[in-house]
């Protein structure tokens, strides 16, 4: 053993500077067919998870836009009644509305505007004077967080008793329900995909354990602790998870960037307007892209953590 013990400084220095020595190989083989397949599975799952998360973000932010838009606008309706001058009632209601606090603008729909509104149902050449059609006054509230609709309602009740105020609460509630349903559905899909991915990672880890049984045995015999071995597998799967997660996340980011560009291009077409109404400008914004990156990194961390737990439990069961 003296030969082993007596290490000369010159030899040591020569070796220290030896750059050709290969010494960085991970203990769990980095490349395998199963590993590549897992990267692809994780990439696809991450891509789909990012799509659902991005879709939910788009719908949630678009619905906030609708809500703000709709809640800033209220309508005063005046029904014609016998013996009442409807034009005078309309003028009075407009006057009351304009003077009410929190109101930015109020105007009665003109005869042409009313005809245009009813045209899809009643056709062209309509003479409103012959029909007992209610007159509408559009009131735009100031851009406040909570428009003061109650005081407008009170003022109308006191000064224009025939006027009926519609704050679109029912319509808003329906919009809210629809948007919330879409977001919840997207979240459920997201959770399902994460669950499926977790199971795929579990299977892949158990497969890797079986495939590397010899390595685990040798590591045990040379004195490796279970925690050390599970850490090696954890690092291995963290790498695979990062590769797959970043690949899937990058594809999802490209998809949203492409969709945003396409929606800008389609913006003036009829179909584009419909899509724009549902999803807004189809633009995720920095927070959305941040969320995609977050999902990709979370997938990698999840991959490492799940495999670490599975490997550690498996090793504990081994004799």
């Amino acid at each position: 053993m003296s030969a082993i013990r007596s290490i000369g400084h010159s030899v040591a220095q020569e070796i220290q500077s030896d750059k050709t020595l290969k010494r960085d190989m991970p203990l769990v083989p980095a490349s395998s067919i199963a590993g590549r397949a897992l990267v692809i599975v994780i990439a696809i799952m991450t891509f789909l998870a990012c799509l659902t998360a991005g879709g939910a973000i788009l719908v949630a932010s678009a619905s906030q836009g609708w809500r703000a838009e709709v809640s800033r606008e209220v309508t005063i309706q005046i029904k014609p009644s016998a013996g009442q001058d409807i034009n005078a009632q309309v003028a009075k209601a407009v006057d009351v509305a304009q003077k009410a606090s929190g109101v930015a603008e109020a105007h009665a729909l003109s005869k042409q505007e009313s005809e245009q509104l009813l045209e899809p149902w009643l056709g062209n050449g309509l003479d409103l004077a012959e029909l007992p059609i209610p007159r509408l006054i559009v009131v735009r509230m100031q851009n406040l967080k909570a428009p003061d609709i109650a005081s407008l309602r009170d003022a109308l009740a006191a000064q224009a008793p025939g006027a009926n105020l519609d704050d679109h609460r029912l319509w808003l509630a329906r919009l809210d329900t629809m948007a919330d349903a879409i977001v919840i559905f997207a979240l459920l899909l997201f959770l399902l995909m994460i669950s499926a991915m977790t199971m795929a990672i579990g299977f892949a880890t158990r497969g890797a354990m079986a495939g590397n049984r010899e390595i685990i045995e040798v590591l045990h015999f040379v004195g490796a602790a279970d925690s050390y071995i599970s850490r090696q597998f954890q690092i291995h799967f963290l790498r695979l998870g990062l590769k797959g997660g970043l690949l899937g996340g990058a594809l999802a980011a490209l998809f949203f960037a492409g969709a945003s560009a396409l929606s800008a291009w389609w913006a003036n077409t009829v179909g584009g307007e419909e899509i724009g109404a549902l999803f807004g400008a189809f633009s995720l914004g920095p927070a959305g892209y941040g969320a995609i990156l977050g999902v990709a990194v979370a997938v990698a961390v999840l991959t490492g953590a799940i495999s670490g737990i599975i490997v550690f439990r498996h090793l504990r069961r081994l004799q």
Partner: protein, 212 residues
């Protein structure tokens, strides 16, 4: 319960001792080595290792004990994706030591066993003898208190076998207890003063000193 490979054996391996474990093929030499390495549990009986009853040890304690034991497997058990250098350095690496702290030591040992030019080679391109020497170097690198070697000279020429035996003897003189399982009589005769444990038909005979 399966067939008892070995039974009713009582022996002890003293610290800093040297012994050959011999006997015909299939007699249970490898089983005995595996029992000593704690990779097998006896169906009955007691194994005490480094003063501790093996049946009472938990996994962490077994890991701690294995770090005090060097082992050379008959089939080498080198990791195919690691170079010779990385394979030999493995016991030090799993202890959590920084690579730079053991590099010189590993390279020196590799040169000593004649693998200085094969440090970056993968096991797939090593000859049987080279694999054998790499496996021995891996067992020695952490300077174990007990060395268990299963047919360590089975794949090398007589000259190298003598050289490896000298290495084991030197290791023994530096304070390591050595158990070499072999049925190479010529090898055993080169170190006649070694104790011989002869296993056959499930039983063990012990001969101290010169073999009759």
């Amino acid at each position: 319960m399966g067939i008892e490979v070995v039974r009713d054996l009582s022996f002890s391996i003293q610290a800093q001792s040297f012994q050959f474990l011999t006997g015909p093929s299939g007699a249970g030499k490898t089983t005995l080595l595996r029992l000593m390495l704690l990779s097998l549990k006896p169906t009955r009986g007691i194994i005490k290792i480094f003063g501790q009853d093996a049946s009472t040890l938990d996994k962490d304690a077994i890991t701690g004990l294995r770090r005090r034991i060097g082992v050379v497997f008959q089939d080498f058990r080198l990791l195919d994706h690691l170079t010779t250098y990385e394979n030999v350095a493995l016991p030090l690496r799993v202890m959590g030591r920084v690579e730079a702290s053991y590099r010189a030591e590993v390279v020196e040992l590799l040169r000593w066993v004649g693998l200085g030019e094969r440090m970056n080679a993968l096991p797939a391109v090593l000859s049987g003898g080279e694999k054998q020497r790499a496996a021995i170097a891996r067992a020695l690198i952490a300077r174990p208190e007990l060395l268990l070697a299963d047919e360590p000279t089975g794949n090398v020429d007589p000259g190298l076998a003598r050289r490896l035996l000298r290495l084991f003897i030197e290791l023994h003189k530096s304070g390591t207890a050595v158990v070499i399982a072999t049925h190479d009589l010529a090898l055993m005769d080169q170190y006649g003063e070694a104790r011989r444990l002869v296993v056959g038909e499930g039983r063990l005979q012990i001969f101290d000193g010169e073999f009759p």
